[in-house]
Symmetry: D2
Subunit: 289 residues, 4 copies
C-alpha cells in the first residue's frame, strides 16, 4: 500500500479508450528506459468501448534529470498512439496544499498531526480560516495561518483574497470542515482539485445539519464522505466514505462527537490517497487504486 | 443478549411520560409478585417532558397460570397511575409470522435456516409469494408455501386473498425481498407490524434500483435497511442497518451480490429483535433495547 | 450513551450474589431519597449462584450536601442485606489521572485532545515520561510534564519517584504506550487501577514486537487491546478491543501506522468508559455497561 | 473484483526472483499472442533479493485450442529466463472440490447455497462426512453425500476410504467445520490444497474449544480464520479472517451463534478467492490478489 518517497520513484497515471496492448506498451517503455515497476494497477469500464485507467509506480535512476526525456517518450510512444490523457509525478516532489478551516478543530488537527508524523506526503503552504480561533493550534505546528473573515457582504472580496494568497502556489485545497460554500467563480479561477469532508454518508442528508437530520430519521449508522468539490453542493465525485454505529440513546451532540471521529479518518485517508495519485476522476465517480 | 425462552419468563414493555419512580414502581411490583428481574433496559427522551420506555424481562413461577392476575396488577398499579402504554408477553409463546417473498431467495432462506437452528423465536405460519419459484425450497423446511400471483389488474383481489389467509392468525409479517408495494388499505386491514428489508442505506437511494443508483453515484459503501412498513414507501421507522465496502471495480451485479449478504444479516437481526420485543416504535424512530 | 456531568448526578455501582429484589430495593431507595433514575444497567452471571452487577445513574437534588446521608442509606438498606460491594461517585467530581508515555505520541495526543474537547470527564494531574521528547506537546495543552528517566540500574528509584509524585493524588493511571514494565511492588503500592494499551488483539501476540509477529504470522487483521494492568504482563482484564484490515502488501512499518489509529481509538474509549464508571472488574474479565 | 467465467479467459499466476522487466515480458507475450489483459496484480517482497508474484487475467480468442501453444511460450519466454514458477488456468474450467463436514451445518450450507447461486466457480464432486446428519440437506442440492464414519480405531481405514473416493478427482478440499484432524500421511497422499475454517481469530485460541477460551479470557471481539491446512494444526497460511463484536453478556452458546456467522462468511470468501486463483502461498503466508 505504501511506497517510500524517493527521488527516483515516478508515478505514471494514464487513461484512454480500452484496447489491446496498453499494459505491454507502458511496461515495455518503462523497461527500455531502465525503470523497474514497483506497482501497477489498472481498471477498465468495459472491454468493448470502455475507458482504461492505469497507475504505474516505477523506479528510474536519475529520474529528475531525465524527466523531460521520459515525458517525451510517454507522449510519443504512448499518449499519441493510444489517445491517452496522462500525468507523470515524482514521489520526491510532494504536492502543495492549502487547508481551509472554520472553528472546529478535529479534521484540521488530524491532518496536521499526520503530516508531522510523516503519514501525508504533502507540503502545507497555509491554513486559511474565516475565524481566528484555531490560529494558535496551527502555528504550533510551524505552519502559516491566515485569517480571512467571510460574511455575506464581503464574500467576493474574501474569495479574491483567497485567490491572491493561493494563486499558482498550491496543487490542491482541502476543506477541513470549512463552513462556507465556495462560489462557482472561485472554483473556476483557482483551477486545482478541492477535497471536502461532508458530515454524512452521501447521498443521505445532503445540505446543512446532517446530524440533526440523521437523528430525526432515526438511522442506526452515521457516516462521513470525502469528495471533490464541484459546482453542485455535496454532489461531487466521492473519494472515501465510512460509518459508525449509533443508537436511539445518542442525542445530536453525541452523534456529532461520534461523527467527528469518522470525519477525520475519512478525510485523512482521502487526502493521503490524493497525495499519492491514487484517485482518478471519471465523470462523477472516482477510481481509487 | 439472549434469554432462553421458558414457560416462566415474561417481558413487560412500557412507555409513559417520564417522571420519578417508574423503575421503582415496576421493579417493586415484580418483586412483590415473586418475580426475579433478569434484564431491565430503559430510555427517556428527556427528563423534562420526555417520554420514558422500559423493557423488563423477569422470571415468575407459574407465569401462564397467573397471567391475568399479573395483567391486572400492571393495569392498576402501573398503567393507570403513570399513564402507561404497556404490553406483556411470554417468552414461551413465540410470535406467529407470515413471510412474503418473490423470486430472490437469500433473505427468505436465511430466515428459514436460522429458524430451523433455533435462532429465531417465532412460528412461521406460511410463506406467501407472487411467484412459484421458491416453493420447493420452502417446503423442504416443512413450511407451507402459498402462491398468490399479483399483477396490475388483480392487485386488490390478491390482497384480499392475503387477508383471507392471514386474518387473525399472525402477529407480524416479514417482507423478505417481496417486490410488490402493499396498499394503504391492506396495511390498515391487516393491522399487524410489517418488517421490510430495503436494499440501500436509507434514506439514500429510496425507491427502485438502489444498486444501480449506488453505482451511478459512485459510493464506496453499500447498505441495507430493515424498517417497519408505513404508507410512505421506504419512510417507515428504521430497525437496523448495515453496510459493506465496495470499490469502483464492482459492477452492479457485484454490488447486488455483496448487498445480498448485508440484506440477509440485517433482516435476520431485525426479525430476531422484533420477536424478542426489543424494538419499540416511537414516532418515526425505534428504540432497540 | 452519555450523561451531561452535573453537580446532582450520582452513579451507584454495586455487585452482590444474585437474588430476588435487588433492582426493586435499589430503585425504591433512590425514589424514596427523592432521586430520579436516568439509566440503569444490570448483569448477572447466572440466576442460581451467580453474581449480580448494576450501574445506576440518578439525579438527586443537593447531591453533594446529602452525600453522607445517601451513603449511610446505601450501606444499611442495600449493602448489608444483600452483601453488596458498592461505590458511589458524583459526575461532577471527575477522576484524577496520571498519564505515562514514552516517545510515541499518538495515544497521548489523542487523550489530551479529547480531554480539551470535553470528551473525557477527568482531570489530568500530570504526564510522566521516561523520555523528554513529548514535553513541548504536553505543555501546550497546559498540562504538567515530568521527565523520570528509567534504565535497568535506576528502575527502583524511578518507581519511587513515580510514587512520590502520584501518591494519593490520582484515581487511576493510563499507560499511553509507556514502554516500561511496572514492577509488582509498584502496582501494589500505588493501589489505583492502571489502564494499558497493548498493540495487538490479545491474547494473540503477547509480549514485545506484536506488529512484527503479526507480519510473520500473515494475519489479515491487526488490533489493539486496552486492559487493566496486573502482575501478569498482557494478561489483565480486557476493557476494549478493535481491529483493522491489512494485506500482504503492508510491511511492518505500515502495520505500525495502521495500528496506531486503532490503538488511540481503543485506548480513548476505554479511558472514557472508566471515567464514567462503566467498567466493572469481575475476576479476569470486565463488565462494560 | 469479479470476472465473468468465459471459455476464452485465462489466468496466469507466476512467482520468481524480483528483477527488472517482468511485467513488460509478461504483458508483451500476451499482447503478441493476441490476448487482452483484463486485470494484472503484482507484489514484490522487496526490490533487492525479493520474490515477485503476479496474477494476470487475460482474454485470448480460442484459448482452449491454443492452450499448449500458450504454455510453451510461457515456459520458454518467461519461466526459463526469469526462473519462474507458474500456473495457467482457464476460467471456463472450474476447480473440482470435495467438502468435508461433521454435524454443524452453517459453513456447509452457505457454500452449497452460494454455489447454487453461481457465486462460487467450482464443481462440488462430493460432500464427505463422519456423521450422517447432513445427508438430506446435501442431497437436496443435487450433490452426492458419502458417510465415512471415523473413530479412533478406524481412522487409518477411514482416510484410506477418503483417498479412494477422491484420488485424482478433486483439485482442492474444504473442511467446513470437519471435526477430525487429518493425518500427515493423508495430507501427503492427497496432494491438493486443503482449506480449513478455524473458529477463532488465529493465532488466538489455537486448538479445541475456542469460544469457551474466548469467554474465559473476556475478549470483546470473536473471530474466525480460513487457512490452508499443514501438518501443524492451526498453523497453516492464513487466507482470510474476520471478527464480530461481543459483550460480557454473551455466554458461550451466544458466542458460538455469533461466531457461526463469521465462520461461514470467512470460509466462503476464502473458497471463492481460491477458486479464482487469487491466493498464492508464500512460506507460511498468503498473497491475496
Amino acid at each position: 500500500m505504501t511506497t517510500t518517497p524517493d527521488a527516483d520513484i515516478a508515478r505514471l497515471i494514464i487513461s484512454c479508450p480500452d484496447q489491446h496492448g496498453i499494459v505491454a506498451a507502458v511496461s515495455t517503455l518503462i523497461a527500455e528506459l531502465g525503470g523497474n515497476i514497483l506497482t501497477l494497477d489498472q481498471y477498465s469500464t468495459g472491454v468493448e468501448g470502455g475507458r482504461f485507467f492505469q497507475r504505474t509506480v516505477f523506479h528510474l535512476p536519475r529520474l529528475a534529470a531525465r524527466r523531460s526525456e521520459v515525458e517525451q517518450e510517454v507522449e510519443f510512444r504512448l499518449a499519441r498512439p493510444f489517445s491517452m490523457e496522462w500525468q507523470l509525478t515524482e514521489a520526491a516532489r510532494p504536492k502543495r496544499v492549502a487547508i481551509f478551516a472554520s472553528k472546529t478543530d478535529h479534521c484540521l488537527l488530524d491532518l496536521l498531526w499526520r503530516h508531522r508524523r510523516g503519514e501525508l506526503p504533502m507540503q502545507i503552504a497555509v491554513v486559511i480560516s474565516n475565524h481566528p480561533d484555531l490560529e494558535e493550534d496551527v502555528r504550533r505546528f510551524g505552519i502559516e495561518f491566515v485569517h480571512v473573515p467571510v460574511d455575506r457582504e464581503n464574500k467576493a472580496a474574501a474569495e479574491a483574497e483567497h485567490l491572491r494568497l493561493l494563486d499558482g502556489t498550491v496543487d490542491f485545497i482541502v476543506l477541513a470542515r470549512y463552513m462556507q460554500v465556495l462560489s462557482a467563480d472561485f472554483l473556476e479561477k483557482i483551477g486545482v482539485p478541492i477535497i471536502n469532508i461532508h458530515h454524512s454518508f452521501l447521498p443521505a442528508f445532503i445540505g446543512a445539519g446532517p446530524y440533526q437530520k440523521a437523528k430525526d430519521r432515526g438511522v442506526k449508522l452515521i457516516g462521513a464522505t470525502a469528495h471533490y468539490v464541484t459546482e453542485d453542493l455535496d454532489e461531487g465525485p466521492i473519494i472515501e466514505q465510512d460509518v459508525i454505529r449509533v443508537s436511539h440513546a445518542d442525542d445530536v451532540a453525541q452523534l456529532t462527537r461520534y461523527g467527528a471521529d469518522v470525519e477525520r479518518s475519512v478525510l485523512s485517508r482521502a487526502v493521503k490517497w490524493h497525495c499519492e495519485d491514487r484517485v482518478i476522476r471519471h465523470g462523477n465517480s472516482t477510481i481509487v487504486f
